[in-house]
């Protein structure tokens, strides 16, 4: 009341417009992460468990909030007088001690029984992911494999079966998280952690590093492509093959540039001289959906932009920018890389 009479203008204007702004913000942020990176857009068994827990807790919180505020309202407006001890004491003990203890214990038991499911054993496929600054080293180990299929910055999974992830990190802590498929798991240097996911819908979902890991942490993401099992097998078989030789003059010039510029010191292109281990494996980089761990798309222009402006796109990135190359040379490199399908 006093605030009202002192400053009626801000109350009158600020109130509703602020509320509208809040609703607007909520709508835009919700729709922005809409389907591709949201725990609430459930696309896997593990995300479903987390979403259920979330909705139950939200509903419970709403009920509690209404109940508590209802009580406040009742006690301050409807019946502001003193209450007899005989009434207050059971309410205090029941509502203040017994009820929260029972609710918290139930939630604790429920969530603790959920935890082992999120680490259930795999149905045959293991993927080893190492967090690098600021990209993901990925190895597929199908059942019985003696050597892994190495790739980077993208994860493909068969729908309907459980894939195990062995997580590790190089130098600093990262966290592996595909919200639409399940919970997050931290990655520690020198220690392997494990999480497993069972996608239930095909589609493309976004993963994101969820532990601050340096200048380009926010740019450390990846695409997750969930495929029908047969498509997955076909993709994995293709991914295991050596790189396709360059086709066409531009791509051949690009391959020569790749060798001359020393890209192979950091990158591997299987079936060529390039065997570097510092950066992502580029054997099939042409079939990736993004470049630079989800930083930009993967068109010819994106390839050229990445090579020319690496550090501008990702601060402190461990790859030099090749801005001395001419537009023609960049186009040739792009043609070569895009051809590595």
């Amino acid at each position: 009341m006093t605030a009202m009479s002192r400053d009626p203008v801000t109350i009158g204007r600020g109130g509703p417009s602020r509320a509208i702004f809040a609703v607007f913000l909520l709508c835009t942020t919700l729709s922005a992460c809409g389907d591709r990176q949201s725990t609430l857009n459930v696309a896997g068994e593990d995300a479903a468990a987390i979403a259920t827990l979330f909705w139950v807790m939200l509903a419970g919180a709403v009920v509690l909030w209404l109940g508590m505020n209802g009580l406040f309202f009742y006690l301050s407006r409807v019946a502001p007088g003193a209450f007899p001890d005989r009434l207050v004491r059971p309410l205090l003990i029941g509502g203040g001690i017994v009820l929260p203890t029972v609710i918290l214990a139930t939630l604790l038991v429920w969530s603790l029984t959920m935890l082992p499911d999120q680490r259930a054993p795999d149905d045959g496929l293991r993927v080893k992911v190492t967090g690098e600054q600021w990209w993901w080293r990925v190895e597929y180990w199908p059942k019985g494999a003696e050597a892994p299929v190495v790739t980077a910055n993208e994860i493909r999974l068969p729908v309907g079966s459980r894939t195990g992830f062995e997580l590790d990190a190089h130098k600093v802590i990262h966290s592996f998280w595909i919200p639409a498929l399940g919970g997050k798991m931290d990655m520690f240097p020198g220690r392997t952690t494990y999480v497993s996911l069972r996608p239930e819908k095909t589609g493309t979902f976004r993963g994101q590093c969820a532990e601050f890991c340096g200048a380009s942490h926010a740019w450390m993401a990846f695409e997750t492509v969930v495929l029908p099992p047969d498509d997955f097998e076909a993709w994995l078989a293709a991914e295991a093959r050596d790189a396709t030789p360059p086709e066409g003059d531009a791509a051949r010039r690009g391959a020569a540039l790749f060798a001359a510029e020393g890209c192979g010191a950091c990158h591997t292109v299987r079936g060529t001289e390039a065997v570097g281990q510092v950066g992502p494996d580029l054997t099939h980089v042409g079939s990736r959906l993004t470049l630079g761990a989800g930083r930009i798309g993967a068109t010819l222009d994106d390839f050229a932009a990445w090579v020319e402006h690496t550090g501008a796109l990702k601060p402190e990135v461990k790859m030099p920018a090749y801005d001395h190359l001419s537009d023609g040379q960049l186009a040739d490199l792009a043609a070569y890389l895009k051809g590595l399908e």
């Binding site: 004491r89 203890t101 214990a105 604790l108 038991v109 603790l112 935890l115 082992p116 680490r119 952690t193």
Partner: protein, 132 residues
């Protein structure tokens, strides 16, 4: 009132309750000790590769012991509070008798929360089996 409360008398009365004052810390201390033991032993066990089952069962045993100790402390505190026999739940007067009952009351409530705390710390031991 003031003439009855000489400093000498006060300190004598307080000294009589020094034991109770200490006793109300025992239940939370048991809870804290149990908490520390669970976290450090399990983490060390997992890091050093000790047999997880043994560590886990040992700690569950320790939990039962901690609960028994807290229950005993709570029982004794309740007896000191003695709301039934005195018919008084709160003891607001600043005299020796009320102080005695009040410290029992406080000790009892602390035992209750410590008991709940130990149960919550024990639940992961019962429901999660491995080191992961």
């Amino acid at each position: 009132m003031t003439d009855r409360h000489t400093p000498e008398k006060d300190s004598a009365e307080f000294a009589a309750e020094a034991g109770s004052l200490w006793r109300i810390t025992f239940a939370p201390a048991t809870w804290a000790g149990h908490f520390l033991l669970c976290y450090t032993l399990f983490a060390t066990g997992c890091a050093k590769g000790w047999p997880v089952g043994t560590v886990r069962h040992g700690l569950i045993g320790m939990s039962v012991l901690a609960l028994a100790v807290i229950a005993l402390i709570g029982w004794r505190a309740y007896a000191q509070w003695s709301p039934r026999s005195t018919g008084r739940i709160v003891n607001p007067r600043g005299d020796a008798e009320d102080r005695h009952h009040f410290l029992g009351h406080a000790g009892f409530l602390l035992a209750v929360i410590s008991f709940i705390g130990v149960v919550f710390v024990t639940l992961p031991l019962l429901l999660l089996e491995g080191c992961r």
